[in-house]
Amino acid sequence: MELEELRNEWQEMSKEIENQKILTDKLIIDMTQNKFNNKLKSISIPETIGTFVCFAIAILILINFSKLDTWYLQVSGLFSALFYIILPILSLKTIYGMKRIDISQGNYKDSLEIFAKNKMQFIKVQKWSYYLSFVLVIICLPVASKLIKGTDILLESAVWLWYLPFVFAFLYFFSKWVFKKYKGASNSAEELLKELDLT
């Protein structure tokens, strides 16, 4: 079937569709007033909840910072608090960036380009968040132990003997999983950008 033939058939079908007038004034008004919630509009609920949890932990660490009485606990505490503040902000920023494309401005090509670039940025941030969260897993243990139990886990416990090998083994498999998880999405965004550059 040639594309020209398909176009004729398409237009026949279009005439039939145009004759099916279903929308009512009320339905259109409701749509313009954004009365319907739908999943396209849903703000990233897990990310938003996660951000509040992270902020709460960061505040808890900073409020109790004086309890961290050695230089390594203080460094770990400071970095943990920074991670808990910066990583969720970066993540939310990229998510909102993807949603903030001005639909009324720009043509199809421009919007696709912005969308693909934002997506690449989002994937990059997500990947780094996963990797950095491993540093966090290691440094937050002594901080948590000091703040909750009042003990310096580095001096008073043999937990590192099993904790570190376990974390590094987990890191190995987890990194492979992260790489695989984002490879497909990253490739499709790259392909889209390449496709836009074709002349």
């Binding site: 929308l23 749509m31 919630n37």
Partner: protein, 161 residues
């Protein structure tokens, strides 16, 4: 009030256009309904930017296509849902019975094209000239022609399989 009534009339006159865009960019009825609402909402939001300074169909296709692509891949996200009026559901059902098998097959093949190609072939099938497709899509007329040739080949080989 007058602005709102003008907008309602505009949507009613072009409800089929929105419907066809949603059909090409979604893979199930739920997403299609969501996209339909979102397009109407975005059209209303940018209605002031349209008034008089562009051809109405150019503006409408641009907003509809931009909305469709910025919502790509969101189908995995779950959100709170309030059911839309049942009339839209029945429209989808009614139109489904209107389409003969060849058109259904064509839709399935178009859905398998990449995002850039989907937009261009949709505008072509809608009877837009190369010039109009170029204006809406942002590609040059020559580029639109080249892409349409590639799409033809692609559809042919897809249909043969």
């Amino acid at each position: 009030m007058q602005k709102q009534q003008e907008f309602i009339n505009l949507i009613k006159e072009n409800e089929g256009v929105i419907f066809k865009v949603t059909l090409v960019y979604t893979f199930n009825e739920e997403d299609q309904k969501d996209l339909y609402q979102e397009i109407v909402y975005q059209l209303w939001k940018s209605y002031d930017s349209f008034r008089g300074d562009a051809k109405i169909s150019t503006w409408m296709y641009r907003i509809a296509l931009n909305t469709a692509i910025t919502n790509l891949k969101k189908e995995k996200r779950k959100g709170v849902r309030v059911p839309i009026d049942y009339s839209l559901v029945s429209k989808i059902d009614q139109i489904d019975t209107l389409m003969d098998d060849r058109i259904k097959l064509l839709y399935n093949h178009i859905k398998r094209l990449n995002t850039v190609e989907k937009g261009i072939v949709l505008l072509y099938l809608e009877g837009k000239s190369y010039d109009e497709i170029a204006t809406i899509s942002g590609f040059s007329e020559t580029n639109v022609g080249t892409r349409l040739n590639r799409i033809k080949q692609k559809l042919k080989s897809q249909i043969k399989k």
